[in-house]
Amino acid sequence: MKDHFTMDAPQPRLLDEMKQGVIGTPMDRPDGPQKVSGTAGYAADHTTENMVHGVLVRATITRGRVRQIDKSSVEAIDGVIDVITDARMIRNPAQGMAGSAPVQPGDAVHYHGQPIAVVVAETFEAARDAAQRLAVHYETEEAAVTPETSTDVETGEPETAGDFEAAWSGSEVTVDKTYTTGAHAAAAMEPHAAIAEWKDGAVTLRSALQMVRFNKKELADTLGIDPSNVRILAPFIGGGFGSKLGLGPEAAAAAIAAEKLGRPVRVVMTRQNVFDTVLRRSETSQRVRFGATKAGKITAIAHDDRVSNIDGEGFAEPVTQASQFLYGADGLSFTQTLARIATTPAGSVRAPGEAVGMLAFEAALDELAEKLGIDPVQLRLDNLPETHPMDGRPYSARRLADCLKDGAERFGWADRGAPGSRREGDWQIGMGVASAARANMLIKSSSRVRLTGNRAIVETDMTDIGTGTYAILAQIAAEALGLDPSHVEVRLGDSDLPGASGSGGSFGANSAGSATFLAAKKIRARIAEALGCAEDSLTLQNGLARGDNREAALTDLVTEEFLEEATVKAGKTSESHFSSGFGAHFAEVAVHEWTGEVRVRRMLGVMSMGRILNEKTARSQAIGGMIWGIGSALTEEMQSDPRDGHVVTRDLANYHVPAHADVPGQMQVVFLEERDDYANPIQTKGIGELGISGAGGAILNAIAHATGRRVYDYPATPDRVLAALDA
């Protein structure tokens, strides 16, 4: 039976009343034993007997057309089966939640590195060799590859509240600074991979994808077949961070090649393919202006940015997302400029917007605090708005002030001292703070729960990209049905199961979790009926049902399967209230005065992010996000050749994700208790992205505090730090 629940009113905290006591506990992941023993099956792991290997061929021009592909150049290579080009191939991965095919360029080349063909061979070695040797003849066109040289630049209408110009000109103290951030790669450890197999006109695709419900439609649309003939399997995904939201070129190529050859085809992107063609986070240029009174009341806020993308993509990095609701002012103004360039397309990478916007925004605020002579924690506390500064909506739940105060206390902020005052030999030591914020969402999701006796099964096409979905859905069902979580089996990542939000935008737990909860709640109603008690007097615990002086074991009560499905979607509460996760990041760094090296010594994130479903997996995600903050502040930058736009940093030796040695052991996370009744029926907020939002800002502010100097171009690599020290 289907049920649609729309989030139109605040919801009672039913999970708090239930008795199993597993919600929120730091339960080990049920999928853990598989992951640590190498038996969790990722996309590329499922080899079959007659499977053949495809390797993508990349364009080596910036823009133009493939005039001819000379197949004879590779025919002599032993094992080569075919060189396949096809009008249905895709230029780049689909944007998140697209649900339709991305640009299918035919023989056109839009950027250097674009996949233009797939070579298929009996062995991977032969396919790789042929892909590299294949002779391709092009017609070339001129195209701009940097935002500075682009001729297609569009500036949007400013988003405003109050009168910024008036507020700005009346400000007693001002900060007006421009920052740049480099392009970022998600660089999930599992390269994008797909194995496609056809049977009776239908294709089964095993691929590393975050949003199965949408990906199914994307593949169907790409191939020009009915979605009912597509099945997608993604039970384990080796990290996503946005990069696997949409169907990728390797999946389209595998499906097309498998259809043509009548054999299963595996296409795994090389690490270089991943850098060339997977959606990057745009580089940004950001001008931030803060105006304030001498007493420290912020009067004017403007945050204007320029980002880039290739033509044909609707996505623009939403740089100022958090700047629009963190602090209040009399006048606020936000303007975005988008430059079209012929390079690797841009899309969502973990916390699109906040991840780079808050680096600049929180640094500028820190500079304002310094100018005012007010403690940065205090300045933030003094300027928290009553309601959303842009549209007046009340916050559904916001403990930002508590996070700042609690964090300052725990971190030893009071001992911080004056900028540039602490040193240990050649190292200058400093502390920094930044707020954390990431808007919270609920996306339409369905889930099915089946109960027989004291064993339950949860089924949804939701994915677990490392976030802990297997754990939290088991906990939700176990709590609602009074079961030990080990009695709940969770089945995910199969497009034949009820469609969920997928993993993205930190909305997965909210959405798929709520749907699972609602389905389990319907089973509770059936249990109450079977027991003969009122639903609200029913207690379920350890496989026993109790209510109205009756008691029965579920094994006696539910002898035939109870199956219920539920669907949840956003409603009026998202219009009446504004929901966001909030927090405060603190960092202590050491800056070497002669080399410019920055070492992060410890970090603390205090976060209020609604109900925590699993304390262990939540902490992991928060820490992971904070470490991404280290990367964005200090090491990560995708660099492209300014002549032809080709990605220069196209492997993990050149694109520097943080390694063990970059990360201190002291990465502390504290969750402040919170329920967001307006967010969804389980009162949760997203977790996966709040950790990164603001974390890098705290590190950059710590560098400024350590040295008394500021870096405006990020990442703050040693050369840039040294230049700031010498300035």
Binding site: P33, G38, G41, M189, G466, H660
Partner: protein, 167 residues
């Protein structure tokens, strides 16, 4: 190329393209996909296995060069119902998220613990005679194993716990 390998104490005869890496042989020919490919260039550590007891990046090893060698992969360390102390510690401390780098982290850590107990110093060792298992030592010695989920502190917690259990 005909090559005989002993993998997880079992002998295999393979006849491979001379360009085939040990990583691809393990994954695709021997049915041992637990070892992962993250870069194929020796830059990430996802493919770490033990070669005659020492850790190597199997993507940098050509199978044909390892005739007669003994290899241990993650499958040889423990299975879901019989985990090693280190594997158990990873589960307990959540020393992973997506799990993709995890086999490599565990293989690498297995070898690293032995390197430390053998007294091999590292760049951060204060004393070249006696290596300790401090967090700084672990961070230094595990830096060849990237984890984009960034479970680093928890991975090191897990290793520290497993080494305690051993003692």
């Amino acid at each position: 190329m005909k090559t005989t390998l002993t993998v997880n104490a079992r002998e295999y005869d393979v006849d491979n393209d001379p360009r085939r890496t040990l990583l691809d042989t393990l994954r695709d020919d021997l049915g041992l996909p637990g070892t992962k490919k993250g870069c194929d260039h020796g830059q990430c550590g996802a493919c770490t296995v033990l070669l005659n007891g020492e850790r190597v990046n199997s993507c940098l090893c050509l199978t044909a060069m390892h005739d007669g060698d003994e290899i241990t992969t993650i499958e040889g360390i423990g299975s879901p119902d019989k985990l090693s102390a280190l594997q158990e510690a990873f589960v307990k401390h959540d020393g992973y998220q997506c799990g993709y780098c995890t086999p490599g982290q565990i293989m690498s850590a297995t070898a690293m613990l032995k390197e430390i107990s053998d007294g091999a110093p590292s760049y951060v060792s204060d004393d070249l005679q006696t290596a300790s298992l401090s967090d700084a030592e672990m961070a230094e010695r595990m830096s060849g194993n990237l984890c984009r989920c960034s479970a680093y502190p928890l991975i090191r917690e897990a290793i520290a716990m497993a080494s305690e259990v051993k003692k």
